[in-house]
Structures are given as structure tokens and as C-alpha cells.
Amino acid sequence: MSPESLQTSFTQSLAAMGGRAQGVPDLEAAVAYAVRLTHEMGGRTLAAPGWSQAELECIQVAGQEAGLQVFSQDLRAQADNIFCGFTPANWGVAQTGTLILDSLDEDLRLASMLSEVHVAVLPASRLRPNLASLQDELQGLLQRPRAYLALVTGPSRTGDIELILTMGAHGPRQVYALLLEEAA
């Protein structure tokens, strides 16, 4: 599959599961997207674990400019105060619209679980056609003595009342995948 068709397919699959994928030129644009989204939805906080120091500074500056509180660690202390979880993702699966997050880091887990909105960022070059094509990579991660590997496909949902599909059960109500289109 060509990079373009992978991206199209990923976008469609994620949309079918109630999430949204969006291409962005670089991390700066991704940060701006998350900040704007949070602001528009009336959120006041951004939890951004899993980033390098330089990336975090960029996130903090943009967040503070918009009047958002930015947390990057000790997220347990903020457990009921996380509006937007802004995290990196490792891979995307085009066939199902799945985001794969190596979530061994507890703060990264909390940001992606407790937030109202989860914005995940990954290079478009890390999209793969299907889960089978990622088998070796995933097995590699699981072979470490400790692992918490999350496959996330769209927002949290339930059909437990009369099979009526309802979004936003215990996890994020909305999921965005921002695909970095910059040259690898």
C-alpha cells in the first residue's frame, strides 16, 4: 500500500469507529491543534506525558499561551482534572483505525484513559496495513519482562443497554489521531 492509501484507509477506519484522523505538517501544528480543541471544548488542562524535554517545552509554551494548565508527570494527583490527553503513539493500523501505544509509562496510561479527549500523535510513516504486519514489533514489546501495550480504536463505547451504541463509557469520549506528514 502506498503511504497515501494507508493514510486514507486509516482515516476511514478510525472514522467508522467514531474517531478522527487528521494530517498535520509537524509537531508544532499538532500541539496547536490539541490546544485549540481543548480551548474550544471548554477544557482547562492538558496532560502531556511521554514527550522529550524539548517537545514538552513547545507544548507548555503553546498551552500556557492559551491559558491551559499543562501536566507531564505525577498524573495520579490530577486524576479527576485531565481534560485532554496529548500523547505520542507508536503505530497506526490502517485496516482497523487502531492506535498502538506502548503504555508501560503509567502517566501515559493515565492520560489516555482518564481524559475526556485523547489526542495521539504519530508520524504518518508509522502506519501499517494490518495488525498481522506489526506482529514482530508487538511481540518484541511483549517479550520485555514488563509490558503494558494498548491497542486503542476510537473512543470508549458501550452497547450494554439494549445494544444501543453509546460513546464515552469509562474512557475518552473523543479520540483524535494526528498524523505527522513531515519527511521522515
Partner: protein, 723 residues
């Protein structure tokens, strides 16, 4: 602790109450209908049988080496700092988990969905130790608040309507909630349970997969509650059955794909699939790590894995589909169709995990319609195992039921059996008042049997008429034996006469080997395997398959029994095993014979009558014949009126309709409503058992719709005039 009636009268009373509960009926029916459609969509363009065979292979292999996979898992998980336990039975599993809680000083437990914890009644045990336990899956929370067990493996509260949920949540929150606002109801759970997550010190999850090579527990959810259960509290206990062990991730991903699609969720994957190995970082845990435990439950599984027949039950991946497609579940729901595990697999597992008393009458509640078998993602022959389980239950009763002893004695002696059938004609003659149907059943049938009129046994059975009917074909191109079956022979000989008319001038020599007897299926259905084997042998002595090109049946049940069960029944009998396989290979149903072997041409002018079709379970699923009957109906010039649930059982199931008349009636009524809605004048089917049920039901409704066997319907248009 739950208990399921061990007495048939009590159980039938429970079923009657369920059938009268219109609220439940409606909720269930909308669930199963929607589920059926969604499941079909999920598999559009995919080869279900091939995928199921792949899953069956993976599970079969894993089941054959559970002890080895367990050791491998334990080693890998412990290398990552997890503690792995093996509990021999429910009591030990409960004790292990309560000890973990006590040693770690835990007070508040949050749980994500685990059928295994239901199996051992874990909540009750932990609560008795003074722990607070909160279920966090929405459906599980609902039933926990109601003090019920799950009525479905993946949709535990599917027996409830939104109104009932709104009432319950109004009570919990102390404010009135709008039942039409389902999102609002879900929001209540999100808000209330978030606090439980944040304050819990122990999380208990189940597990869908245990990867032996990496010591990983894999959990699927849509709600995301298992992620919170496994992350927020400082202690995590995963409770899993030993059969969840698979060698590695690729095996698990293959199963995952089919598991999710089969549930009818219209998703290719659940919102979350979580894989956890070892003691992961946890800020509030000892040394910054989670206290991680994996508790494997044996509770009879290792013994099952060594049983040549029942090990198949361990392939179950808990998708719940055997309930979704079951016509009995569709009418009464899981609380009346299982103990803890519900649906077809529940009828089997209850015996092994919860004992004979809880399965004693439950295991009899199966039509053998094969709908579950056809939909099982792990290729489990559920109806067969259910009958085998019934046999086990019976073998432990102080004595076999009188009806079983009587049936066995009579069936083994063909002359006696046929003598009694002939006598039946005389006995019922006064009841029929010259009619072919008995509308008012004699007193010894209870009122609950009155939902269908019963046919009168023929004055002269087919075997007596045969010498006059059969015309020897001088130069036959095909030599065919007719296997009549009891109903065609003694009740509906006209169906065979229609066949003879149709074969006229088509170069077929049709024999009726006179020593043939009952096919033996009724014995097998009552758990009398030895009797079934004995009559199978008698039939093989009466009908030598080597002398024929085909063995033709007008009865789908006899046909599928001869094809599928005979070789299995006789595989240990060296002298007959080969012959049984030969017979099985030559068995053919009426429609396939007409369409595929004889290649009948469409009738120049059919009647154009509006005809609906009922697909017999043992034809469409048992023999896998779907197209030929519909083609034949059209070739015979009928205006074929299709409807949605053509392949759903008519509720006959042989002796089932006598054991569970209320169930049989309810299932029949749905069928007849569907047929009536097509506007058909005729209802055509190709099994005399279905004819009996459908005709009897329509007669009680005083419906003008006429029921015909396919042979009769075809003969009307396709028989060649006498030369």
C-alpha cells in the same frame, strides 16, 4: 449461590413464566434479531468456516498441552515480577484472592468483566470477608445492583430494557432519569464508577488470552473499564481459566479477529485490546510497581482437556453466539437457559463446573437444531456434546427414566416396534373422527400439548403398499434405495408415493429394503447411544450400500443422522465401520437428488401458487443443503415467497416437543407468524417431522395455509404422465 431447578416440572414452570413475560420477550427478540443481522454484516466477504477451522486448530493444539503452556507462562510472568497461582477448584481460587487482599491490606475492589469470577461466585466470597466489591462493566454493574447474575456472556444485562435500567439508576442516584436518554444513563455509570476506580486498592480482571511465551494477559473491552481496573489500584489480580492459554500473540490475534466479529458488534476490533506482562510501573504500588497476580483456575479443566470427547468444550472463547442464535434462548433469555454459563455451551459446562444437579433438566432443553454449531467460531459440535452430557447425567441417575427403557426395548426390536405402530392406527381411529388430524388430544396429553393437532397413523404403512406401488425400471441408469424413516413409512406414505410419481420415466430403480427400521436418531436424542448403535447395525444389515448409487431420504433428520452420526456410532465395530462410511457417502436428500442428480427441467406451466419455504434444521445445517430446495420450488412453477427466518427451527425437535411443549409452541408460533406474513398459500418443507409440527400448528390456528412435503409440491407440477 445460584441453583437451577433439578426437577422438570419446576423448570417448566419457570420457562412458562418467562414465556409469559412480554417485556422480556420483546427485549430479547429485538436483541437477537439485531444481532443476527449485524453478525451477517460482520462476515460479509469472509469465509467463516475457514476462519473457524483455524481457531479450532489453535485451541485444539493449546488444549493438548495446557500443563506445558502453564509452566511457560509462569516462568515468563514471574521473570517480570508477577506472581502466578494455580487454583485446583473454586474454593481455592476464592481463598487465594481473599488472601492476596488481606496480605496487601486491601479494602475496596473494582472489577472488570470476568465470567470466571462468576463461575466461582467470587464477589460473594470477597464480600463475606468484609471487602467492598464494585463491578465496573456497565452491564455487570447493572446486574450487581439488581442482585442478579449475568444473562449473557458478553451482554450481561441484555434481558433488561432501558426503562428498567432508568428505574434502577433513578433509585441509585436519587433523582428521576429519562429512559429515552440512554447516553444520560451511561453518564450516570461513568460518573459514579469513576470514584470507585479512584478509591480502589485492588483491581480484579478476567483475561481473554494468556500468552505462554511472554507471560502476557490480554484483555478486550469496549468501555475501557479493564484499563482503569488494571491501572489505578495498587494490586491487580487477573483471574483466568486454564483454557485461556495460547502459545503466543499471533495465535491470540487470530482468535481475537473471529471473537469480535462473531459477537455481532459490527466492529473489526474492540475499542481496547490491552496486553499486560509482569509487574508494571504503579506510583502507589510497593517500590513503584504494581503488585501483580495471575490466578489460573483449573476447576475440572485439566481433566476435561484429557477427555477425548469433552475436551472440545474447552475451545470455547466466550463469544456468547451460541445463545444469540438459539431459538430457545430467543424466547426465554439466559436466566432461564443456563446456570452461570448460559446458552448451548452452558448446557455442557454446567455439568462439569457446577455439578449434575444444576444441569439435570437444563441439559434436556435442546432442540438439536444445530444453529449454535453452525455459528461457533471454534467449531464446537455443541448439540452433540449436549446429548453426550445428557447421557452422562442419566448414567448417574439411580435408574434410567421409564421412557428411555421403553424406547430402547422397543426400538431394538423392529417387529415389535412396527407392530405397535400398526396398533396405534386402531387406537387413535376413534379420536380422528375420519379426519387425517387429531384436533382434540385425549386427556392423557396435558392441555399444553394442544398447540398442534397430531397426525393419524396411516391405515397401511408404506412398507405394505410398496409391492403395488413400485414399478421395476427395466434398464435403470441409477439404482437407488429409499430410506423411509418412521414418519414417511407409517404416517405420511403419500410423500413416498409422490416421489415414485416423480421418478417415473426418469431411469431410476427405487428399492425399499423391507427390513429397514428407525434410523436411531430418537434414541441418540434421549442419550441412548447403545440403542442408536444397535439399530444402526440393523439398518446396515437391511440395506447394503454397495448395491446402490444413492440412498435417498425424504426426511432431513434421518438423512443427516445417517450421514453424520452413523459412521461415528459404528467406528469401533470393525465389520460395519466401512459399510457405515459407504452409506454416509451415498445418502442424499430429495431436493438435491432431483436438482443435482436428475437435473429436472423447469415445469412448462406451474400453478404459480404463492409458496413459502421452511428450511429443516437437519437439511440446511445438518446436510448443508440450501440452494436445491429453493431451485426446485421455482422449477416447479411456484411463486416463491422468501422470508427472513426461513432457517430458524420450527420447534419440533422430535421428543423435545413432548418434553417441553410450551417452548415448542412458542417457537412454532414465531415460525407460523413469519410464514403468514409472506401471504403464502402453501408452506413447503422437506422433512416429515417439520410437516407434522407445521401442519398441526396451522390446523390449530384454523389457517388456510397448506403444508406440503417438497416431494408432494414437486410432483404436482413435475411428474411425467404415465407412459
Amino acid at each position: 449461590m445460584r441453583s437451577t431447578p433439578a426437577d422438570i416440572k419446576q423448570y417448566r414452570a419457570q420457562l412458562r413464566r418467562a414465556l409469559e413475560n412480554q417485556f422480556l420477550r420483546q427485549t430479547l427478540s429485538s436483541f437477537t434479531t439485531r444481532n443476527r443481522q449485524r453478525r451477517a454484516e460482520s462476515f460479509a466477504g469472509l469465509d467463516f468456516a475457514a476462519l473457524a477451522a483455524e481457531v479450532a486448530g489453535i485451541k485444539e493444539n493449546a488444549i493438548s498441552r495446557l500443563p506445558e503452556l502453564y509452566q511457560q507462562f509462569k516462568q515468563a510472568a514471574e521473570a517480570g515480577g508477577a506472581q502466578v497461582h494455580l487454583a485446583a477448584d473454586a474454593a481455592e481460587a476464592n481463598r487465594i484472592i481473599a488472601d492476596i487482599a488481606q496480605k496487601a491490606g486491601c479494602q475496596r475492589v473494582v472489577k472488570s468483566k470476568s465470567m470466571t469470577s462468576e463461575e466461582i461466585f467470587l464477589n460473594a466470597h470477597l464480600e463475606a470477608q468484609g471487602l467492598t466489591v464494585t463491578e465496573t462493566d456497565l452491564g455487570e454493574w447493572i446486574i450487581q445492583l439488581r442482585g442478579e447474575g449475568p444473562s449473557h456472556m458478553i451482554a450481561p444485562a441484555i434481558h433488561l430494557s432501558r426503562q428498567e435500567v432508568a428505574q434502577l439508576f433513578s433509585r441509585v442516584t436519587g433523582r428521576g432519569l429519562d429512559p429515552q436518554n440512554v447516553e444520560g444513563l451511561v453518564e450516570v455509570a461513568r460518573r459514579e464508577l469513576r470514584q470507585a476506580f479512584l478509591s480502589a486498592d485492588m483491581g480484579i480482571s478476567g483475561g481473554n488470552f494468556c500468552l505462554a511465551d511472554s507471560g502476557t494477559v490480554g484483555i478486550i473491552t469496549n468501555e475501557g473499564n479493564a484499563r482503569l481496573v488494571t491501572t489505578l489500584p495498587r494490586v491487580h489480580v487477573a483471574l483466568v481459566g486454564l483454557e485461556k492459554l495460547v502459545p503466543d500473540l499471533p495465535s491470540a490475534l487470530t482468535i481475537l479477529n473471529l471473537l469480535v466479529r462473531n459477537t455481532g458488534m459490527t466492529q473489526a476490533i474492540t475499542s481496547y485490546v490491552t496486553w499486560i506482562s509482569g509487574a508494571v510501573p504503579c506510583a502507589v504500588g510497593p517500590g513503584g510497581r504494581k503488585e501483580m497476580h495471575v490466578v489460573f483456575l483449573d476447576n475440572g479443566r485439566l481433566a476435561l482437556s484429557r477427555d477425548p470427547v469433552f475436551k472440545e468444550a474447552l475451545r470455547c472463547i466466550r463469544c456468547g453466539t451460541c445463545a444469540n442464535v438459539c431459538p430457545i434462548y430467543d424466547k426465554v433469555g439466559g436466566h432461564n437457559y443456563g446456570h452461570v454459563y448460559i446458552g448451548a455451551i452452558g448446557l455442557i459446562l454446567t455439568y462439569f463446573y457446577h455439578g449434575r444437579q444444576n444441569d439435570r433438566v437444563l441439559v434436556q432443553n435442546c432442540l438439536n437444531c444445530q444453529a449454535c454449531k453452525a455459528a461457533c467460531p471454534a467449531g464446537i459440535d455443541l448439540p452433540r456434546l449436549i446429548k453426550k452430557t445428557a447421557g452422562l447425567v442419566m448414567s448417574q441417575e439411580p435408574r434410567r427414566p421409564a421412557k428411555n427403557r421403553l424406547l430402547s426395548m422397543v426400538l431394538k426390536n423392529r417387529r415389535l416396534f412396527h407392530f405397535l405402530l400398526r396398533r396405534a392406527y386402531l387406537a387413535q381411529k376413534p379420536l380422528a373422527r375420519g379426519d387425517r388430524l387429531i384436533r382434540h388430544l385425549p386427556f392423557f396429553f396435558g392441555r399444553e400439548h394442544g398447540f398442534r393437532s397430531l397426525p393419524v397413523v396411516a391405515r397401511r404403512p408404506l412398507r405394505d403398499r410398496w409391492p403395488e406401488l413400485a414399478r421395476p425400471e427395466t434398464e435403470p441408469r441409477l439404482r437407488v434405495a429409499l430410506f423411509g424413516g418412521c414418519l414417511v413409512d407409517f404416517v405420511y406414505p403419500e410423500q413416498a408415493e409422490a416421489l415414485l410419481k416423480l421418478l417415473r420415466g426418469r431411469g431410476v430403480r427405487l428399492d425399499y429394503p423391507p427390513e429397514q427400521t428407525c434410523c436411531g436418531l430418537p434414541a441418540l436424542m434421549m442419550g441412548e447411544e447403545d440403542t442408536a448403535r444397535e439399530v444402526a447395525a440393523q439398518n446396515l444389515r437391511a440395506l447394503d450400500p454397495a448395491q446402490y448409487d444413492y440412498v435417498l431420504t425424504l426426511c432431513a433428520s434421518c438423512g443427516s443422522h445417517l450421514k453424520e452420526n452413523l459412521p461415528r456410532l459404528l467406528e469401533g465395530e470393525s465389520s460395519l465401520a466401512m459399510q457405515a462410511r459407504q452409506l454416509a457417502a451415498k445418502v442424499i436428500d430429495f431436493s438435491s437428488f432431483m436438482v443435482e442428480v436428475l437435473g429436472v427441467e423447469p415445469a412448462p406451466a406451474g400453478s404459480g401458487a404463492k409458496a413459502a419455504y421452511h428450511a429443516p434444521c437437519h437439511l440446511c445445517r445438518g446436510l448443508g443443503v440450501r440452494q436445491a430446495p429453493r431451485d426446485l420450488l421455482k422449477a416447479a412453477g411456484y411463486d416463491y415467497r422468501a422470508y427472513e427466518e426461513e432457517e430458524v427451527c420450527c420447534g419440533f425437535g422430535g421428543s423435545y416437543s413432548l418434553e417441553f411443549p410450551e417452548m415448542s409452541a412458542a417457537i412454532l408460533n414465531s415460525k407460523l407468524d413469519n410464514v403468514a406474513a409472506t401471504g403464502a398459500e402453501l408452506l413447503v418443507t422437506d422433512c416429515p417431522g417439520c410437516v407434522l409440527q407445521l401442519r398441526g400448528g396451522l390446523d390449530q390456528r384454523r389457517s388456510p395455509i397448506q403444508v406440503l412435503h417438497m416431494a408432494e409440491a414437486a410432483a404436482a407440477a413435475l411428474a411425467k404422465p404415465r407412459a
